[in-house]
Amino acid sequence: MTRKKRRLYFVLSGMCVLAIAAALVLTSFEDSLVFFRSPSDLVEKPMPAGRNFRLGGLVEEGSVEKDGVVTRFRVTDLNESVPVTFEGLLPDLFREGQGVVTEGAFTDDGVFVASNVLAKHDENYMPPEVAEALKKSGQWKPEAKN
């Protein structure tokens, strides 16, 4: 085996080992790498009241109630949903059907009290006329995945 070949195999095997190591680390830290939990995740792994975490999903259609500076709405992933209250200014993109990530904790009665609300937009970009036309022709699909 020439030295060049030896170096080639050395680099290749090094890269393989590195890739396997990275994959193992990333899968074992999966829980801390996710930025938010969805309502379905909470059914699988419930969070105790008072523990801070991020809850993400879509703002359920027809669920937003404003009471002065307090906003009540439900965060859904189209399977499960969680009631949320938030006191403060909402981001401009916040509306029903929009993706959101809220930061806060559950109270004892199962309501998620958010201290912070971030808007999440999807990967679709189009001019307003196209969005209108899609809505009219019934081809509009709300965010399928979040």
Binding site: K4, V11, F36, G56, L118, E123, Y125
Partner: protein, 244 residues
């Protein structure tokens, strides 16, 4: 393949070929950047939900593409330099690093400026943003390794190893939005089901991507040439010292 690579690894031939490409890269950069900016700022329509803020995308997304592409290119040249000991490969990786670092910085800053009005925050520690910040530190680390050795051969080897180790971060950045929940939205252009961007917004974006690429080629040629000349100068200085 090794023989073919050697042909291009000859610094003299490399300089001759790149000297022929260079003027083209300058004209392409000017042409594409002017038309790309005109299309992005004046022709492209506002987005249905983000309005005019979406125009930040035309600066942000191609910068992020370049950051990943340049790092991948740097890792490949580093591997070629490490395995086949091609002098130009190491110098190309070295010359590309600061350009890649600038594109990464641009992507981070414009992303932050875009995040504030749209998401409601300048920064969050989600997987996409964090892995992109790590990429920026990898570039800086790579540049620092080159500076910390007196012997260029040793520096090239250490820097190449760092570049290769860091390349695991590239797929992590690319797929972070698919593997984990992130605040950053998933990929819009390179998806299995085709681009999720309307053509009136997609075309200016692609023109900007080409403009950035042409700019990269132009600056890279200048920088590699400077590295080759610097190395020649060093050889001359060393031989002069020996003659004394």
């Amino acid at each position: 393949m090794a023989i073919d690579l050697h042909k291009y690894a000859n610094p003299k031939r490399f300089l001759a070929i790149t000297a022929a490409i260079y003027p083209w890269s300058v004209w392409l950069t000017v042409l594409l950047l002017v038309s790309g900016l005109y299309l992005s700022l004046f022709v492209a329509p506002p987005d249905y939900q983000q309005g005019d803020t979406v125009r930040i995308m035309f600066v942000h997304v191609p910068a992020a593409w370049m950051a990943l592409m340049i790092y991948t290119m740097m890792a490949v040249s580093s591997a070629v330099g490490l395995i086949w000991k091609h002098p130009v490969a190491d110098l190309t990786a070295k010359a590309a690093a600061p350009i890649g670092a600038c594109f990464t910085f641009l992507a981070l800053v414009t992303g932050s400026l875009w995040g504030q009005p749209m998401w409601g925050t300048f920064w969050v520690w989600d997987a996409r943003l964090t892995s992109m910040l790590i990429l920026f530190f990898l570039y800086l680390g790579y540049m620092a390794v080159w500076e910390s050795f007196d012997d260029p051969a040793k520096a090239a080897k250490a820097a190449a190893i760092l570049a290769l180790v860091g390349v695991v971060n590239v797929p992590i950045i690319r797929f972070s939005v698919d593997w984990w929940n992130t605040l950053h939205q998933p990929a819009s252009v390179a998806t299995m089901s085709g681009p999720k961007i309307h053509s009136s917004i997609l075309i200016p974006l692609l023109v900007m991507g080409l403009a950035y690429t042409a700019f990269f080629v132009m600056v890279l040629i200048i920088r590699v040439k400077a590295e080759i000349l610097q190395r020649r100068l060093r050889v001359l200085q060393v031989s002069e010292l020996r003659e004394r």
